[in-house]
């Protein structure tokens, strides 16, 4: 059996597509897991799950220790071959702990997963996006975490039915407790969903100057502004939901315009899958040009306003 779990519904639907494909190759079924509720069960079935296990618990908040304990029980009862987990921060800490509990292998943030000789082979970015590690499991269950947007969900099929198994599981309680959950200061930007992103980096001298990027994003009807690490993490000119890179968000818009971004590999790792990449930088030697389709060498304070007005003219 192939198990699929994420605390994010959308990500679960994406994993189900891959889970379905793997389960067919392995001649198994794919099961989605809900913990503490079964409200998404119908949707999971309509998007490819053969059945759904809804673990009945009184847990309402995620704690890796407790969720790993529940998944450990489910995996052992079903003698699972493959466990796919959504690679958000909760998912990654869950996967690692579960791997220790099941004393098995785990590969995180896989961008490719397939079956070879009945074992799972994974591909993931390593060395800050400079290489891809190809790894194969020699143990099972095989735990794989998959980041958002790596795969599309299957189209909805209302006729696809399956069983919803409601079951109580004992689990180990964690002695830690959650005392506060606070929304982080964000501007409600979802860079992962953007079709066009205009991004800014250290080339900007003042926080106010970021309006140049906003204006360009506006005429492109992309309206999405991204940034490199220093702008969000160090200077805090933009909230972290704008941050694109290895520790920030990974994006693949059809057009990515990098303004005043030097092109550190950590940033490239977050945007390398973009359709068309444009770079604007005054340093002709900047690394970003190596990762760009088109580049203009020049002062962004001159280039961006000109580009904004030229695009405005072109698009009418």
């Amino acid at each position: 059996m192939v198990l699929v779990y994420s605390d994010d519904k959308k990500l679960t639907l994406e994993l189900l597509n891959k889970g379905k494909e793997l389960s067919k190759e392995l001649g198994k079924k794919v099961t989605a897991i809900c913990i503490g509720h079964d409200s998404f069960a119908k949707e999971y079935l309509e998007h490819g799950a053969d059945n759904v296990i809804a673990a009945e618990t009184d847990l309402h908040t995620f704690k890796a220790e407790e969720y790993a304990s529940i998944l450990e029980k489910i995996a052992k009862e079903n003698n699972n071959e493959v466990i796919l987990i959504g690679s958000n921060k909760n998912g990654k800490e869950l996967a690692g702990r579960l791997a220790a509990k099941l004393d098995t292998g785990c590969v995180t943030d896989c961008i490719n997963v397939h079956v070879k000789d009945n074992k799972i082979v994974t591909e993931r970015m390593v060395y800050s996006g400079n290489a891809i590690a190809v790894e194969q499991f020699t143990s099972h269950p095989q735990i794989v975490t998959i980041p958002p947007k790596a795969f599309n969900p299957l189209p909805k099929n209302e006729g696809h039915k399956g069983e919803v198994i409601k079951k109580k599981f004992d689990f180990e309680k964690s002695p830690s407790k959650i005392t506060k959950v606070q929304e982080m200061k964000t501007e409600g930007v979802s860079v992962e969903d953007a079709e066009i992103i205009v991004s800014c980096g250290r080339g900007f001298k003042n926080k106010d100057d970021i309006k140049l990027v906003r204006e360009l994003a506006d005429v492109l009807k992309g309206r999405t502004v991204g940034c490199s690490r220093p702008i969000a993490a160090d200077l805090k000119w933009l909230s972290e939901d704008h941050w694109i890179g290895l520790s920030g968000h990974k994006v693949k818009p059809k057009l990515y315009i990098a303004c005043g971004i030097s092109g550190q590999i950590q940033h490239i790792a977050g945007m390398r899958d973009s359709g068309v990449i444009v770079a604007i930088n005054k340093d002709p030697e900047a690394l970003i040009f190596k990762s760009a389709d088109y580049g203009i060498v020049g002062d962004l304070y001159q280039v961006i306003p000109k580009l904004t007005s030229a695009i405005k003219d072109k698009m009418g």
Binding site: E65, L94, A99, A133, T179, L255, A292, I296, A310
Partner: protein, 254 residues
Amino acid sequence: MNIIVCAKQVVDVSEIKVDSSTKKPILAGVPQKISDIDKNALEEAIKIKEKHGGKITVVTVGQSDAKERIKELLAMGADEGVLVVPPQNADYSVVSHILAGAIKKIGSYNIVLCGEASIDMFSGQMGPRVAGLLNIPQITYAQHVNVEKDKVISERNLGDKAVTIESPYPVLITVTKEINQPRLPSLMQILASSSKPIHEWPANDVASGKLEPKIKTIDIKGVPMARKNVIFKDDLDQSVTKLVDELAKVGVLR
């Protein structure tokens, strides 16, 4: 407050060159260093020790040349170092068993601190794995740690929200790069660190029977990066016009 910090020796990823024909990374000859975020973990440990006293032990699973790197950590403020050389095919599982075994051998501890991930492999699974093997609570992606006598209060950064968790000891915490700014040791500290002990323990001693990998690496392959690399160098107006024409042609302006 006894603290154990797990620190990994890695290649300096910013120094990696890519072979232009195979697109594979050239790892030979790349300088080694302690993974950046592990230094944040040690810095946090030192801050806790400054306030509450205690002892800091750093544990490294790596080749014997990692001893030089451990010396840097002792100069920063760790009290003792432990180095365990892993068997040749050590995967995430093997390393986690060695770390957990070494931590058990050290014995008395309140907090285990790690970086959220190492900058070379960035798997992020080592902290949670070790916590799982030790069967202690885990707090990952901590951007703030406040140590009290009987409990630690820590804030996790989940990107869209911050979750505050309280845990009794012992506990394992992984920290983000934003939590602090690691200090640079003074010359006096560097000199004084040479008298601090570094223990070398055989992997078999700390993780006997658990050194069988669960995953094998088949290949480290290059990343295809087929970009056009067209750079417009005419005067600015012409460059902008050409760029806009190109963008319209490839269909991204609509």
